[in-house]
Structures are given as structure tokens and as C-alpha cells.
Amino acid sequence: MTTLSDPPKEGFRLSMLLYDTRYRSGTIQVVALFCFMLLAAWLLNNTIQNLAALGKPIDFGFFSEPASYDINQRLLDYNSRDTHLRASFVGLLNTLVVAFLGCVTATVLGVVIGVLRLSPNWLVARLMTVYVEMFRNVPVLLWIVFIMAILIETLPSPRAFRGDDATASMMLGDSVAVTNRGVYIPEVLFSRSLGDLHLFGNSSLRFDVSLDLIAILIVLGAGLWVSRRIKHRADGIQEQTGTRPTTWYLRLGVVAVPLAILLIALGFHFGMPALKGFNFSGGTHLRNSLIALWLALSLYTAAFIAEIVRGGIMAISRGQTEAASALGLRPRRVMSLVILPQALRVIIPPLISNYLNLTKNSSLAIAVGYMDITGTLGGITMNQTGRELECVLLLMLVYLAISLTISAVMNWYNESVKLKER
């Protein structure tokens, strides 16, 4: 038996930077950081030199200058004397609006199509396959311009509504006009309005919130809360006796009656669109550009969502349905108690990343002249002021913030629904 003497203690040697696992990772990281900083410094240096040569040092002052252009589709009050900052703000809201609308319709469409693709009806399933392949395999930009062109060319212009020999007429009892300038729908008006709440005073970020809306939301919220209480009570009764009392009329009542009273009190009525001068006036005008973008984005994204939904449902093994039916559950309950809760876990993560894509694709709004943030900040404002660097960087930051918010929500959700495994 030999005894091993301790190997001589060694001090730090340079070669340990390369060979010693303790230092080696440090070496790599330092080298990487160094390379990164070098690159960053180089880019920054170039930028500073170039900007100096162009005589355009970074300066966000232009934001407080008047924008001088008009924006048609807007949620906030805005006119051409407002600042570029406000124009961008209006654009940002437009982006959020179309992204939100798009996500909602894309989801509805996608779910319907995804489910129909699994339909036992051969023809319907095939038709849905054609739909999915058609939309997935043609660029979204092409769809946007295509749908815009269809709206423009196939719908009647307001002129066609005029005169005795009108070739087009309004729909739904003269309350909706579908024209190639967009769709005019009745707007909600209150004759005894409570007025608006003005936020942020007179600044570029000023924001009006309708007190009527707040009142309605409060009443609605209270109604829903009471309705939930009723539901909980019904649940309790069911747990105790096994039978569930019918409560739907009660639940409907507590929501609808107070709401109706409030609406009457506020003097609720519709403002109908009517042909006046060149255009329809009154009512709410959903511009063509919004509709085309909204439609195109939702139809395009729906094709992807349909595939996700189909995949999610197919990922639930047939055995689950069989086991549930063998227990005597009706198909509707099988769907709601067994299939959907499982499928949703599979569906939601890719669904959210499709929402992200839709939001990013909404930047193609410029192709149809919808004034989103790319059209305002990254479009006319940039053109007019010549501040490309500031505008593009800001534009990226805005999108990045939206994306990161959405993916943060996604990660949180993923964590919370993970299936428990051994």
C-alpha cells in the first residue's frame, strides 16, 4: 500500500485561465463581454461621428413641434396643430386597437375553423384545409393589399346610396351603411351625458375618459358581482343536494335591469349614420383601412390558430373522450369538462405567440394607410422631421415593450398551468 503525499499546492498560473474550470468560464465571459463592448463602442462611435457629419445630433425636441398633418382614424381628439408626440400617441392607440380587434376575431375564427377541420363532414373539413393552406402560404402583406382592393372594388361607394336610382341601400333598418369607404354603424349617444374626465390636462398625452362609460362599467360590474354570488349559491346548493336550481333569469335580471335603468336615466340613444353631403355623417365610421387590416390580420392569423387548435385537440388522446363517454358524460360535458381544459394547456402558449405575431404584423398598416404607430411615428413624422434615428429607435422600443408585456403574461400563464407529473 502506498500512501499518496499531497500534491504540492500550486499558486495561480496564467495557464489556469484556459485550463482551470474555475477560471475558464470567467475567461470566456470576459472575452465575450469585451467583444460585445468593443462592438457596441464601435457602433456608437460611428454613429456619433456620422451624426456629427450630418449635423443631426440626437435630439427629441421635434416631438413638441406641431405635427401639421391630419389623422383620420383616431380614438383621441387630435388636429393638425397638435404635436408629433400626440400624433405618435394616437398612432400607438390605433396599433393597440387593431391588434386587440385582430386577436379577438382571429381567435374566434381560428377556433371555429380548427374545430371544423376535425369535423366528420368531409366537405367541410376539406374546405377548411383549403382555407388554412391558402392563408398560411401567401404573405400577409399581399393579403392586406388584396383585401383592401376587394373592399374598394366590390362595395358600393356612398354615391351609390344617393338619389332616386340608388343602387345600394343601408342595412338593418337603415342603421348600418357598408360602403367602400368603410362601415358606418350607429353610435352610442347620451342626451344627459355626465361629461368627460380630463386626464393629463392639456399636455400631448391628454386623455378623455367618458364618465358615462365609467358609470356603466360600475353598474355592470356590480351586476356581474351579484350574479356571481347567485351562481356560487347555486353551486353550493348543487353540492349539497345534487340538483341545481335554475337561476339564469335571476342572474340575467340583476345584470340587465340596473343597466337598463341607468341607460334610460342617461338618455341613451343611437346616433344613426345618414347620407349628408359627400359622405355619411353621424354614426361611428370604421374606415376601410382599419377593416382591411383587421380582416387580413385576423384571417391570416386564424389560419395559424386553427392549426394550433386542431393540434391541441388532437393531442388529447381518443382515450380521454372514450373514458368520459364510458362514464356516461354527454358530448357537451365531455368537451367542457375533459377535452377543453386539457387542450387549452397545449393551445395557449403558441396562441399567445401568434398574438405577438399579429401585433407585429399590424405594422404593415402603412400598406393601406391605416395610421398606426408605424404610420405616424415611423411614417409621416419621420419623413417630415428627418429624424430617422430617433424615430426608428423609439418605434422599436414601443414594439419591444408591447411584445415583452405579452410574453411576460405568457410565461406567467405557462408556469401556472403546468400539468403535475411524477
Binding site: N180, R181, G369
Partner: protein, 318 residues
Amino acid sequence: AGTLDDVKARGKLNCGVATGVPGFAFTDANGDWQGFDVAVCRAVAAAVLSDATAVEFVPTTGKTRFTALASGEIDMLARNTTWTFSRDVDLKFTFVGINYYDGQGFMVPKELGVSSAKELDGATVCIQTGTTTELNLADFFRINNISYEPVPIETNAEAQQQYLAGACDVYTTDASGLAATRASFENAGDHVILPEIISKEPLGPLVRHGDDEWGDVVRWTLNTLIAAEELGITSANVEEMSAAAGDKPEINRMLGTEGTLGEMLGLDAAWAKRAISVGGNYGEIFAKNIGEETPIGLARGLNAQWTDGGLMYAPPFR
């Protein structure tokens, strides 16, 4: 080195044009660029490089054109760009002259019965975006205190489509564009161009600040084309007139049979002759690309020679 040397060394002129404007810049089926703006590029290329085909056309959009010029990607921009103070001073470009005097106008269908832009209250207006048009429009309606609904559109082709389908009541862009667009309609007579011209839109080629030598080359090539018309030099007779000195000294100086104007520019003596022989003088270029004989069908109007009551006025060659 200066841009002139760069261009000579490269053997190609990089010229920024629009991505497609009828009569001004478009490609034919062979992929060759045609149009009024394109002709200016070709004339410059002929003058500098002795080869009218030695041009690399760079299609630019409203957004990219200034960056392309500022970054040196193109040597000159010939893309109906309005000469404004801020572009000249703030964005630091040199407009070398004006090849088309334009102004923003309105076109409406006849059946609307509108005779003045002031009657357009509440109308939907298609604007081809480019910065000045929107600004003029916003100012015009605001000053006249009438409302309107702007529909911003990226390209002329789409604007035309919307206008024809009735998606907007009015189409506004530079009057030249309006006329050109109207000319291509199936029933051009059903549309009128309103008398109001709400802005001045002097369009011309531009180069970067700070390279006066190159600016001069482009400026005087343009002037050559304009002056040639005034002096009666055409593509048909330019060979003959440049063969020997004639009796008009200005023509002689221009065509290099007398004096050393070409050398002063850093070019050879026959530069102007080559510029003219590509597409003819200004009048010929106008007539061939956008004149009344073409589908575009623009009248000379303000763009007639000063001698004919227009604004085309080339400084003297001396």
C-alpha cells in the same frame, strides 16, 4: 474625392428615382427605365460618362430618398421632390434647379358638380403621401375652416384605384400627377381638375450639400437642356450644330465649339452635346414623356419657356 471623380471612376451614375410614377419614372417590359425624371439622369450620365446607359437607377420611396442621398448611396436624386427651405437648409441638400413647376391640385368626378375646392366641406380626400402634400392639405382646409377626411395612400396606382372606385371623392397630389392619372382613365372626360392650386411645388433634381463641383455639373446639365430648347438645339440638329462653330456664340460656348466651359466643369468639350443628344432638349423630353401627345397629356403651362410665357428660364452660358 468629389462625387464627380467617384462617378467617373465608377463608370456609372447612381441616380435615385421614384419606384413608379406614370410619365416620370417607370420600367418598360425590357426592364429599362423611362420617364421625365429618368431623362435627367440619362442626360447627366451622358454628359459625365459619355454613355446615357451608364446609369444605375435606384428606386426610392418617400421615406428612403433623403437617406439614400445623404449616405452617398446615390449621387443625385431625380424624383419629383419639392424644393423647400427645410430640405435645403435643415436636411442639407442642394437643389440644382427646377425641371417641373408644379402645384398641388384636386381632381373630382364631374358628377359631383363641384367647381371649387372650397366646396369640398366634408369630402373624403385621397392623398398620396409624401410629406408636403399632407401638410398643404391640412393647412388649406384648416385655413378655410372646412372639414375633410384624409385617406393616406402610399402609391399613385392605389390612390387611382380608390378614387375610381369612389372610395374617395377627391384625389389630391401634384397637378402633373393628377393630369397624368386622369389621362389614363377609361373615361377621362368624367373627371375635372379643380382650378385651385393650393401650393407651389417646384420639383427638381438635388444633390448633397458641400460638393459644389458636382452640384454644378448636374445644375448645368439641366440648364443645358432648358437652354437648348430656347436656343433651338434639338436632338436632330445637335450633331450638325456641334460639328462647327456657328454664328450664335452662346450655342458655340454650350456645344464646346468655342471656349472651355466643359473643362471648367471638369468635363470635356462635348458634354452638352451628349446631354442633348440623349433625349433631346427640355421641350423634346417633355413632349416625349408627358406632353400632350402622350397618354399623360400634360400641357406646358408654367413649364413653357419664359419666352412663351412660362417660367423655364436657364441662366446664360457665358
